[in-house]
């Protein structure tokens, strides 16, 4: 039980981050805070993928004669890390679009509170 908790600590942290992100998206009324929640949610998934590539006692995936490449246990799996570079870029683009939309929303309603905007739309 103790091993199960400690041995998977990176996954527990990811789960906590995921929950914080979802909480921000669902319960926060300020649109900027919702965006922050979204970023935390994305970060949690990115960290999950990154932790997939790690191994105990392995080194960075750069070929070193001291560690033969024939034994895969010598090196980390670089694929999740490179994939997550793309996912981070996607996240940054999403953030940019989100802020552009927030600026347009603020210019029209002079507020970023969800309830007040919905009241004005009605």
């Amino acid at each position: 039980m103790y091993d199960f908790l400690l041995g998977h600590y990176s996954y527990w942290l990811t789960i906590i981050l995921l929950c914080i992100g979802l909480y921000g998206i669902i319960f926060k009324k300020n649109l900027v805070k919702k965006t922050i929640g979204l970023t935390i949610l994305q970060a949690s998934v990115v960290l999950y993928w990154v932790s997939l590539g790690s191994k105990w006692g392995a080194t960075v995936p750069v070929l070193d004669p001291a560690y033969p490449a024939s034994d895969v246990a010598n090196y980390l799996n670089p694929l999740p890390h490179t994939l997550m570079l793309t996912a981070i870029v996607v996240g940054v683009a999403t953030l940019g679009v989100a802020f552009a939309l927030l600026i347009a929303t603020y210019n029209r309603y002079k507020t970023l509170d969800e309830d007040e905007i919905l009241e004005q739309i009605q």
Binding site: I25, L31, L101
Partner: protein, 496 residues
């Protein structure tokens, strides 16, 4: 020679035009729309060529940089993706022809950006359909989604806010999908769909697979507005510019549904899907609730675009229900309904765009019998599309509902059958009230507008013809449905 590169050319053509349009747009902004139409036309032509000549061959697999999968990324051009690609590119071509006067009227200063983003949107959709790699699919999904947010944000006062709400829920969906792919990668070590499909039977009943299925279905469900995740759709379609909603409404959700078909029926397969939890039944039940909810909400709407948006939720429910039945009739019904609904919704959104262009509103309570004289062709197209939506033969909508009904009977699912029948009646309620207002005089009206002196005041031919072509297409699809069904029969996933 060109054949082997066809899958990549269809998609990358849009990327090329996304760059070409700003280059020419700086010089002359009126060139943007013809260039965008040309781009969509070239891709639609290539899709038609590929569809006619390569359908019965083995799937065309294009390896980028000649890297063999599972190491490299591949595009898979098989019967199913060829069909969907043809549908979305042809619809986009006609909608782009239609969009010029609306774009000039609603956002004259943003033509260059608008058409460039349109091309990126189509790149995303084409990539999602063609790709054979789960992570690549996520990237194309996000390209398409980001373009969708941008296109929806151009419009009425509330448009940026509704686009932002869609961004929050859509990106959450995309992230959940990515998490699901992560679970699959952990156990299989590959991201290639064909490779992963071959490995799946080894992991039957594995808890990671179950979690991955649920996460991916929820993530894609957000994008295709499956019942509890539909909240973004009505506002987005209502407040967006008419040209954007006519482009996104027919094809955006269809592409997401295609991904759902790929994941549920091809990647996992129906046996693996239902091994521990009856996921397909749950999805079907949600679809059934969505069908009824969308139809009832559509009756309550006074704004035509909002009514069509709710109707979209209900029609997407039909398609998802067809998938969840997982028998040949349900599959045929779902794919036929993807085609039918794309054509019908494009036609209906074009009608609402034409009315907004001429009247400045599309408020159903203000419709009256003068429309019959003023907009004869627009209203005729509306009637054809509406009757097809309700499902009267020989129009297209009847046949997809027929096959879906046969599918529910084959699955002995009387609940779903009654949902389909009740929903058809509800469709009749919300479409026929418009027909009644337009084609019959209201005896209770305070002042009677005389029929004499009303002359046809139709929109320009560039807006009229695409709409009329779709209306005529509904007859053609209905008449030639046997040929289309014969094509769909070649696409059955294994084990169906």
């Amino acid at each position: 020679m060109i054949e082997t590169h066809l899958p990549a050319l269809i998609a990358l053509n849009f990327l090329a035009f996304a760059v070409i349009i700003p280059l020419f747009g700086i010089w002359k902004s009126e060139l943007c729309q013809p260039l965008a139409t040309l781009g969509a036309g070239i891709s639609a032509g290539m899709s038609l060529y590929g569809f006619l000549y390569y359908l019965n061959d083995v799937p065309l697999r294009y390896f980028f940089g000649a890297w063999q999968p599972p190491v490299g990324i591949e595009f898979v051009y098989d019967g199913l993706s060829a069909f969907i690609i043809l549908v979305i590119n042809a619809i986009a071509f006609f909608v782009l022809i239609h969009s010029k006067p609306i774009a000039v009227r609603e956002f004259p200063n943003k033509l260059m950006a608008y058409y460039s983003v349109t091309m990126l949107l189509m790149l995303g959709f084409n990539g999602m359909v063609l790709t054979g790699d789960l992570f690549n699919l996520f990237v194309f999904l996000e390209i398409a989604s980001l373009s969708t947010y941008a296109l929806i944000a151009i419009g009425e006062k509330a448009a940026p806010f509704s686009a932002f709400r869609y961004l929050i829920i859509g990106t959450t969906g995309g992230t959940l999908y990515l998490l699901g792919v992560g679970f699959l990668y952990t156990i299989t070590g590959t991201l290639n769909i064909i490779d992963m499909t071959a490995m799946m039977p080894e992991f039957a009943g594995n808890s990671s697979v179950i979690t991955a299925v649920i996460l991916m279905v929820v993530g894609i469900g957000v994008k295709c507005a499956m019942f509890p995740m539909h909240g973004w759709l009505p506002d987005s379609y209502t407040f967006a510019a008419s040209s954007s909603s006519a482009l996104i409404a027919p094809i955006g959700t269809k592409v997401a549904v295609y991904v759902l078909i790929r994941v549920m029926l091809y990647l996992f397969g129906i046996e693996l899907l239902d091994l521990v939890i009856p996921i397909s039944y749950v999805v079907g039940l949600l679809a059934a609730i969505g069908i009824l909810y969308g139809s009832i909400m559509a009756i309550a709407q006074d704004e035509m675009k909002r009514m069509l948006a709710y109707s979209s939720i209900s029609q997407i429910g039909y398609i998802i229900m067809g998938i969840s039945l997982a028998n040949p009739y349900g599959f045929i019904g779902a794919l036929l309904h993807i085609l039918n609904h794309a054509v019908m919704k494009a036609c209906l959104f074009m009608v609402s765009a034409n009315l907004r262009m001429k009247e400045g509103h599309s408020d159903i309570s203000k419709f009256d019998h003068t429309y019959r004289k003023k907009y004869p062709w627009t209203m005729l197209s509306f009637s054809v599309a509406a009757i097809s939506m309700v499902g009267l033969p020989p129009l297209a909508g009847f046949f997809s509902k027929w096959y879906l009904a046969l599918g529910t009977i084959e699955a002995n699912n009387w609940l779903f059958l009654s949902v389909i029948l009740i929903s058809s009646l509800l469709n009749a309620v919300y479409f026929f009230r418009i027909l009644e207002k337009v084609y019959m005089k209201n005896p209770d009206a305070d002042e009677q507008v005389p029929d004499e002196g009303l002359v046809s005041d139709e929109v320009k031919p560039s807006m009229l013809y695409p709409m009329s072509i779709f209306a005529a297409g509904l007859f053609l699809i209905g008449i030639f449905n046997v040929a289309i069904v014969a094509v769909i029969m070649n696409m059955f996933p294994a084990g169906l």
